[in-house]
């Protein structure tokens, strides 16, 4: 247990120390929130869907958690070639504990980053419908964080170089974000797109967050919760397996 704790603590220490990175990582969500939130606002209003800022804020929060969690896992690539991973792999600690400590650390960082973005959203004018449902929103953030930190660890375990990182970014992480309903409503979509969005685990995270924060739901919170938990368990299993197969 102490090994899991100290590796988790390491991720947190690294996060709190890189202040520049912390501020920089708020830039992208801010851009989406302000440019899209206010830019598409009038069109969205005319279509009779209400405030786009209200609609997109949960999507932007989910995006932040997604990116932070996946990157923390992919940072394994650096750890692996230079460094620190070797120290943990020759230590008398089961690899499963190393993987869990790292993944939980990455997930915690992603949750903290998500909370920061919630605050930014509040400042920008976003208003959650019910304060009582905020804790449930946090539960969905935790689920999103764990699902994608585990996915990141799985990817980080097999990636060999930076070129691979670009590939993952453009063909996996960005599509997960754009096809999740973070930016547009999931009803009345062309049928192919509708199928794809239902295969994207982030759709359920965004939907869960949106249900709790603004009261709009496509799948229902129970379905969101069950699917995210199942996908999380699956990714943790795959991540542990791939991590245990790392050869230096």
């Amino acid at each position: 247990m102490s090994a899991i704790y100290i590796l988790w603590l390491r991720e947190l220490r690294r996060y709190t120390r890189s202040r520049a990175q912390l501020v920089a990582s708020l830039g992208q969500p801010l851009l989406y929130l302000l440019a899209l939130g206010f830019g598409l606002g009038p069109v969205f209003q005319k279509a009779g869907q209400g405030s786009y800022l209200q609609f997109v804020a949960p999507g932007v929060i989910a995006m932040t958690v997604l990116f932070t969690a996946v990157f923390s896992g992919i940072a394994l690539l650096w750890d692996r070639q230079f460094g620190f991973l070797k120290e943990t792999l020759v230590a008398p600690v089961p690899r499963l504990q190393v993987m869990i400590g790292k993944t939980l650390g990455g997930a915690t960082v992603a949750i903290l980053q998500g909370v920061l973005v919630i605050i930014v959203c509040l400042i920008a004018g976003f208003r959650p419908v019910s304060a009582a449902k905020l804790p449930f929103a946090v539960v969905f953030m935790i689920l999103i964080a764990v699902v994608f930190a585990a996915l990141g660890t799985a990817i980080g375990s097999v990636l060999q170089d930076m070129q691979g990182f670009q590939l993952i970014m453009n063909f996996l992480v960005m599509p997960i974000f754009f096809l999740s309903g973070a930016l547009f409503p999931l009803d009345n979509l062309p049928s192919i797109l509708s199928v794809i969005t239902r295969l994207d685990p982030l759709s359920y995270g965004v939907d869960g967050l949106r249900t709790m924060l603004v009261g709009i739901s496509a799948f229902g919170p129970a379905a969101d919760l069950i699917i995210l938990a199942a996908v999380g368990a699956l990714f943790l299993g795959i991540g542990s397996y791939l991590f245990s197969k790392i050869q230096l």
Binding site: S2, A3, Y5, I6, L7, R10, R13, R14, R17, S18, W78, Q81, F82, G83, F84, L85, K86, E87, T88, L89, V90, A91, P92, V93, Q160, D161, M162, Q247, L248
Partner: protein, 266 residues
């Protein structure tokens, strides 16, 4: 008495390629043993097998009487290692790096605190213990890695080219420390290096490996006598020839290039 490191008929194949071909050597407790060879000779592959990171194709392998394949955790608890590439976390302080290591190696808290202070003082890093490691010079990082490798009182210390890229002062100091610890703590040292003068000065015995096979083994004097040469460098060149070995750049080398560009980052 059992040797601290026992290697008999060790073979490692990667597909068709034989990286280590039937090598055997024993290292008794308390010895400083140097493993020399040109690039790609099989040094690092052998260290990886000894340190549980790679599994051998065939042959016998024992550390302190234990097989790294079957007693992975017991073996890991018994050695400390300094890798070719630094393996510190640059964002953490020197003290935090030591703490992390101590916890991963199950060192009891009280002993961990005592020994951390003792080792950091010995390696002249105590004053800088609360500084982030990324602000340290190459020599300081190396010293910290050795201090860290010794924190759990290992019986064997592996040093894989620990002086690569260090200035003569740091190299000199590092070997003085290594020798001192070998004498005071009776730790067995297994090292590789490309600097022949270092091996000559520090090592009790030397094995020269080339193309995956051990071509000579003995004290520095033995090797010089055997080849009829004046210096270990000449002996080494005579044993291994003077052809330059070109290794294909692997993923790790490419990452090193990228890391150079990004070196300010961590």
């Amino acid at each position: 008495m059992n040797p601290m490191i026992r290697v008999d008929n060790l073979v490692k194949k990667f597909g068709e390629f034989t990286a280590v071909n039937n090598i055997s050597f024993h290292v008794p407790k308390g010895e400083i043993f140097a493993f020399l060879g040109p690039n790609g000779a099989g040094k690092t592959t052998t260290i990886k097998m000894l340190t549980t990171l790679l599994s051998p194709t065939s042959g016998r392998l024992e550390l302190d009487g234990l097989d790294p394949r079957t007693h992975q955790h017991d073996v890991r608890q018994r050695f400390g290692i300094v890798f070719q590439d630094p393996s510190l976390d640059g964002e953490l302080t020197a003290y935090e790096n030591m703490e992390l290591h101590g916890i991963l190696y199950h060192v009891p808290r009280r002993i961990r605190l005592e020994r951390t202070e003792q080792l950091l003082r010995l390696f002249e890093l105590w004053e800088r213990r609360n500084d982030q490691v990324k602000k340290f010079s190459g020599g300081m990082k190396r010293r910290l890695e050795i201090a860290r490798g010794l924190l759990h009182t290992p019986k064997i210390l592996f040093l894989d080219e620990p002086t690569l890229g260090l200035d003569p002062q740091s190299r000199n100091q590092l070997w003085t420390h290594a020798k001192h610890l070998n004498e005071t703590e009776q730790v067995t040292v297994f090292l590789t290096t490309h600097y022949m003068d270092e091996a000559d000065r520090v090592a009790h015995r030397i094995a020269v490996i080339d193309h995956g096979e051990i071509v000579a083994i003995g004290s520095p004097q033995d090797l010089k006598a055997q080849t009829g040469t004046e210096s270990l460098e000449d002996a080494f060149l005579q044993l291994t020839g003077s052809t330059i070995r070109d290794e294909t750049a692997g993923a790790a080398d490419q990452m090193r290039q990228v890391a150079k560009l990004w070196s300010g980052r961590r």
